[in-house]
């Protein structure tokens, strides 16, 4: 698995108290059963819905299937959710956001890759801007195949996840599927601008190219009627620190 999952062995501090409290440890089995029952029957969903699969995902919440049957509610903020459903293609531009939103979700949390784009990138997998499988970014527990999967398959995927959680709670560990080729797909050819490992000649060449072609020289405005400001003002807002570069809750 390409993603480091060392931090995934989350245990709520309450367990610790319960084990140390005299008498209560005897009831651990029962309490644990209740907790497991509640955790599996109230999987709230954070929809990382980007493209086609998002429409089928909405269908799964609508009349025919209705994932609300098993207690799954769609909440728009990651802080309230247990399951992130990645529905759709994730691009290189979007992947850091996915990672950040995943980190904003409270433990215990699970991830479902819905549709072939999220699973492997589908036929966009070799394209310069597409992440070949969301499991290179976040650890995925359940894969729902299809392009897009039918709405009832989402319900089935959630039920598979429930079974996995039960198995995990029973000490069987989290059985998960793996894609062996994932690991070697994450090294890009070139480093990001500003990365110390980046070849400086690349940066210079880019600067030269833009200077010779006169990108910067073109920034004076030609239309007065334009209601929006130009790029310089935009940058100024950034410099003043008034912009949260990434959403906190969105």
């Amino acid at each position: 698995m390409a993603v480091d999952e060392g931090s995934r062995n989350y245990e709520h501090p309450a367990y610790d108290y319960m084990e140390r409290m005299p008498g209560l440890s005897l009831a651990m089995t029962t309490v644990d059963k209740v907790l497991e029952w509640s955790a599996t029957n109230s999987l709230w969903i954070f929809p990382m819905a980007t493209s086609c699969c998002a429409i089928e995902f909405i269908s799964s919440a609508a009349a025919r299937v209705d994932i609300d049957q098993i207690g799954s509610v769609v909440r728009p903020t990651p802080r309230h959710c247990d399951v992130m459903i990645v529905a759709g293609t994730i691009t290189v531009k979007m992947a850091p956001r996915v990672k950040k939103l995943w980190e904003q979700m409270p433990e215990p949390k699970w991830c479902i890759a819905m549709g072939s784009c999220a699973i492997s990138g589908d036929f966009y997998r070799d394209i310069y801007s597409v992440v070949p499988g969301i499991d290179t970014v976040v650890p995925v527990d359940v894969y729902i195949p299809g392009c897009p999967p039918n709405a009832d398959q989402v319900l089935h995927g959630l039920e598979r996840l429930q079974a996995m959680i039960r198995s995990d709670r029973a000490g069987g560990g989290m059985p998960r599927e793996e894609r062996p080729e994932t690991a070697k797909m994450i090294n890009p050819e070139n480093r990001r601008v500003g990365d110390p490992e980046r070849d400086p000649s690349l940066t210079d060449a880019q600067h030269d190219a833009s200077r010779n072609l006169g990108v910067g020289a073109n920034s004076d405005r030609t239309r007065d009627a334009r209601p929006i400001g130009d790029i310089a003002e935009d940058e100024a807002a950034d410099v003043r620190g008034s912009v949260d570069d990434l959403e906190e809750g969105a």
């Binding site: 979007m94 394209i127 801007s129 929006i228």
Partner: protein, 382 residues
Amino acid sequence: MDIEDYDPDADLMALNMGPQHPSTHGVFRIKLILDGERIVKAVPYPGYLHRGVEKLCEKLTYVQITPIFDKHDYVAPMTNEQAINMAFEKLLGLEVPQRAKVLRTILAELQRIASHLLWLGTFTLDIGGTIGGGASLMMYTFRERELILDLFEALTGCRFHYNTHCPGGNRHDVPEGWETVVRHVMDTIEPRIDEYEAICDSEIFLMRTEGVGLISPDLALETGQSGPVLRASGIDHDLRRDAPYHAYDQVQVRVHVETAGDCLARYKVRVAEMRESIRLVRELLGLLEPGPIVGSKPIKSLVQFKASGGQVYVGIETPRGELGTYLVGGGDQRGAAPYRCKIRPPSLHAMSVLPYVLPGHQVSDVVTILGSLDPIMGEVDR
């Protein structure tokens, strides 16, 4: 307008909406500069779903490209397939038989109903909230949309991403009894549209949409709007009537035009288009006569079609507006694949009007205006 010039003492706040936000219709980021709740400036940042479709088209042959076009406007895949296949047919000089033409037109109109149904649901979801009246209407519209998806499933075997069009015709002929079911579905949906209108005819809905997001006719034309957005601004332009393709020259398309240019006008135009599409489907079913659905050259291999180095542009009227394809043929060396394939997405132009429209509105209006433009981010970013 410079921020500093606007009001030196104002405490402006930059609010970042998206790329993952419940109401941006996909992954769209827009930075709002706010004065209280009033928007001073809006800077959109698309591109979070850029999947390199145009580069991919250069690597594939003409036959292979159709399923990719299914995915770029994932709410109306049928019309996307038509757009690219019409461009292929023009470039390759293929003729489409009459039955395939009528069938394609029926599919396009059914897709238009399904797409507008989904739009209506998500639009009211933006106004009414996911826990509120909007969600109720969305569930109703999805119920009706499923009926149309069932029709497509009976025809092609897929709920969407059909891959049923091919250069020179269609792959799947209608199954037995399909026309009857279509008529039945149309009879079911038509009275329900009245119900939606009754739900939306509430004081709060009017307050939220009337006069919000005004797009003047000049601005609409200049920013390249098309489809319902253009017609809501008072421009009487519909490619189905003005530059007929497929079987649209065999029926009379009535175009609904609103002059107000606000969100309410866009809502009215789309609802009227749903009714018109139902009428067209009924009329077109009568024109569906027996005959071949594939042209003279049925597809036998992936590299069967070779094009010269010509360049063509074909635009058709999808539910969102003019979806065009500018194709540069492969020429002698790469005859079986296009050399360059540029898509003209209507949603991109619809979204590019946001910086002009949003300033002066409230934060709540952002979702209303965004929803009324009916953007599909897969189409904006490709």
